[in-house]
Amino acid sequence: MSKPLIEARGVSRVYADADGGGVEALLDVSLEISKGEFVSLIGPSGCGKTTLLRLIAGLDEPQRGEALLDGVKIEGPSSERGYVFQHVNLFPWFTVEQNIAAGLKARGVYKERKDDVKAFVRLAGLEGFEKSYPHQISGGMAQRASLARALINDPKVLLLDEPLGALDSFTRFALQDIILDLWEKRGATMIFVTHDVDEAIYLSDRVVIMTPRPGRISEIIDVGFERPRHRNDAGFMKLRASILEKLNLVGERKAPEYFL
């Protein structure tokens, strides 16, 4: 691969904690992601995976180092980096349709691209719910709407911050396939934060394992299995076991949350 699409160069981010000390959410983290790649960030709470994602989104600034998109330093949020939140964050006073169109309106291109809204409603499988409000639809539907809302801006990269974390496992499996489908069809680059090892292996080209205090990348694993992948494959299981072991080795207590 030539130049990476996204690059983090030695980024560090310290948050002040209650005692006035600092929590090193990220310490000197470097990562390169190529165009069209699907990368998962995995690790226990506090390992800085969300922080890294927010730095790339421009929602936060690193204190040291820099994040780059296409070789240009990321300063502040932009519509070329879509963000999907765990808590969905649809706007409750907008209908599903208006939520999906929000990005177009924000960029002032709504008039020209009005027809796209319909296409993205269809993409998210939300036909018939265009006029519903977020509180009327299920969690899975809301997350699909928020995916459509992020994708309608044609972002160069889609940042997914535990988008499936709050969903039941049936909805979760379905949405994993939807995300994969979107990734394949639209050739989008995706960075996916998760607690779930299966999910990370099922979806990604590469799995980035992170460890907490200070937040660092401990290992990057090339998954390399053919798609479509099978969760019960011998290779899948083996990789799963080895990643779980690696995550356990980092000194978390027993019964860590990512078994959920």
Binding site: A57, G58, L59, G76, P77, S78, S79, E80, R81, G82, Y83, F85, H87, N89, L90, F91, P92, W93, A102, G103, K105, A106, R107, Y133, H135, Q136, S146, R149, A150, N153, L159
Partner: protein
């Protein structure tokens, strides 16, 4: 007719007599005028001030700490004055601006000076309740700060802003009655002149009915408006 020499029941009945309402009716219009104008000024001033207070704070959209601190201090100063003192304090200001220190318009200055800071704090506390994630979502889709304020923050908090404004209107009504004492006219003036100075308690009663009805009406309208919005969003 005074409660001192007339049974309560008779005073009560007399309070529904047109005679009791003769001087009250024009005063109602004065009060409505004062309340109306003050509410418009309070709404505009309070929303602007509340927005500035919110977005300029350390964790706000456009942090300008010195501006936030100084505005906040000014608001606190204005809010620390009891309404009556504010009215007295604004007398020379009204004379400076309007050329006379009494009357309906002079009173509006005092009302606004007291109610804008109060409403601004209500606006601020509503806006601070917004989930950070919603603002982040808007930022991530490329919204400007201006768009976030007018397309996200205000619509999101509209039901709570309406409730806050209802509280503010009622405060304006009560302060208007107080201002009647200081040459502002209106219902408060009637209540003091007839009810207190002349012992015409039937007029006082009538004035009380009007004030109660006004406040009920405003509260009802405010509750209804905020409920309609919440229902539309299926939040209740």
């Amino acid at each position: 007719m005074s409660l001192l020499n007339t049974p309560f029941w008779e005073v009560f009945l007399a309070s529904f007599d047109p005679a009791a309402w003769k001087s009250l009716v024009p005063a109602i219009w004065e009060t409505l005028y004062m309340v109306g104008i003050t509410c418009v000024i309070t709404l505009v001033g309070g929303v602007i001030l509340g927005l500035i207070l919110t977005v300029t704070n350390t964790f706000g959209l456009l942090p300008i700490v010195w501006l936030n601190r100084s505005l906040s201090a000014v608001v606190n100063c204005l809010r620390s004055l009891p309404q009556m003192i504010m009215i007295i304090l604004m007398i020379p200001v009204a004379r400076m601006i309007l050329g006379k220190a009494y009357g309906v318009n002079a009173c509006i200055i005092a009302l606004a000076a007291s109610c804008i800071p109060m409403f601004a704090r209500l606006v601020e506390s509503s806006l601070l309740e917004i989930e950070k994630g919603k603002v982040d979502a808007a930022k991530a889709m490329g919204s400007s700060s201006f768009q976030i304020i007018f397309r996200i923050m205000i619509p999101e908090t509209l039901p709570s802003l309406i409730r806050g404004f209802t509280v503010a209107i009622i405060a304006v009504i009560s302060m208007t009655a107080l201002a009647g004492n200081f040459g502002a006219g209106g219902i408060g003036d009637i209540a003091v002149r007839f009810g207190f100075q002349r012992f015409q308690h039937e007029v006082l009663f009538a004035a009380v009915y009007v004030l109660v009805a006004l406040v009920q009406l405003v509260q009802f309208a405010g509750d209804a408006a905020s409920k309609i919005l919440l229902k539309k969003r299926h939040l209740i």
